[in-house]
């Protein structure tokens, strides 16, 4: 293939679609006037386009198409109305503001009450622990005494017998 033919070949589709600058069209037309091969290629492209148009005619929307769209549009309008009416109701805005206020206040309250123990509170808590431990020790002593009494009682019974 000649260099000029190659160049024309790259633009031949655009030429068939009339998507080429007037200067280039002039140049291509000059070439086509004496090159049968390129003329043939252009004819083929045009033929394909013509056949494509003929072979695949437009379809029309089905019978209920418009009605179905109108129903969908109605729903769309209704939901749009709901969306906008919710946003612009003053009562809703007051409710949202109150909710935000309570959330912030609640957050502040919770963080303030989460303080560490003071020294006094710490002492009291450890003393309480000590007292609880003492109580256990006392109970253990009592248990020991009780066992001793039981043993003495047994010994007494043996002596009497």
């Amino acid at each position: 293939m000649k260099k000029e033919c190659q160049e024309i070949s790259d633009h031949i589709t655009a030429l068939a679609d009339q998507e080429i600058s007037p200067e280039k069209v002039e140049k291509i037309n000059l070439h086509l006037a004496h090159c049968q091969d390129c003329r043939h290629k252009l004819d083929e492209i045009k033929k394909i386009q013509e056949w494509m148009r003929k072979s695949w005619p437009d379809i029309k929307p089905s019978q209920g198409f418009d009605q179905s769209f109108m129903d969908a549009l109605k729903k769309e309008k209704a939901s749009e109305k709901r969306r906008t009416s919710w946003l612009f109701t003053p009562r809703k805005w007051v409710a949202v503001c109150a909710l935000v206020f309570f959330l912030i206040a609640g957050g502040v309250f919770l963080t303030q009450n989460k303080k560490e123990l003071t020294l006094k509170q710490y002492i009291i808590s450890t003393e309480f622990e000590l007292i609880s431990n003492m109580h256990v020790i006392r109970n253990l002593d009592a248990l020991e005494n009780y066992e001793m009494l039981l043993a003495m009682n047994e010994i007494g019974k043996v002596i009497n017998d």
Binding site: D17, E19, I45, W56, D58, I59, P61, A72
Partner: protein, 200 residues
């Protein structure tokens, strides 16, 4: 935007709709519903999906039109919405790799009626050849990769310029030129036998 735009009737319709004239939207819908339906149908090869998506396109136009500031053609904007919905829909349906023709019952019905008409013609053999040719061309178009097919469809059937096709498919004008050139090369190759028989 100017209050009236005689040179750009679509922009005028949009302006009127933005100013509360709902009839202007309906005019836009009636003007573009068939081209959009055909564009989607030829791309996805499924009539029911095409009708559903076409309705969704115009619902999106309705939602977006009030805040839309036209930068290009209104038609390109509508085709762009259609393209995005189509890609989304096809991804969802996993039909992107499907290249075989999917004939709906209505298409088959149309083919059947064509056959009946064929038998009544004076030259049934000639008609048969024509029908074979049509089927061959259609199948060849359907077998193109999706983006190439869309570029060809927008160019041949919807008569959009390369610049507008680029906007719709989100590629450069040069890329559109290359895509269409390649697509037509493929079509030519696949249809060469048919054209030889036709004596071209």
């Amino acid at each position: 935007m100017e209050s009236t735009n005689i040179n750009n009737p679509d922009a005028d319709l949009l302006y009127r709709f933005q100013n509360g004239e709902e009839e202007a939207f309906m005019e836009l819908y009636h003007k573009y519903k068939t081209p959009i339906l055909n564009y989607i149908y030829r791309s996805c090869l499924d009539r029911f999906m095409a009708e559903d998506l076409t309705q969704e396109v115009f619902l999106q136009v309705f939602r977006g039109a009030k805040g839309y500031k036209p930068q290009g053609k209104i038609s390109s904007w509508i085709y762009t919405i259609a393209t995005h919905l189509l890609w989304k829909g096809m991804k969802k349906e996993r039909k992107i790799l499907k290249v075989v023709s999917q004939k709906t019952s209505q298409d088959e019905y149309r083919d059947l009626t064509d056959n009946i008409k064929d038998t009544r013609t004076q030259d049934p053999l000639g008609k048969m050849e024509e029908k074979q040719g049509k089927t061959a061309v259609r199948k060849a178009v359907e077998s193109l990769p999706l983006k190439q097919r869309q570029a060809v469809i927008l160019s041949i059937y919807e008569q959009l310029s390369y610049k507008d096709i680029g906007e719709v498919l989100d590629v450069s004008e040069g890329a559109v030129k290359v895509m269409i050139h390649r697509a037509k090369k493929i079509l030519k190759k696949r249809l060469s036998n048919f054209f030889k028989e036709q004596g071209s």
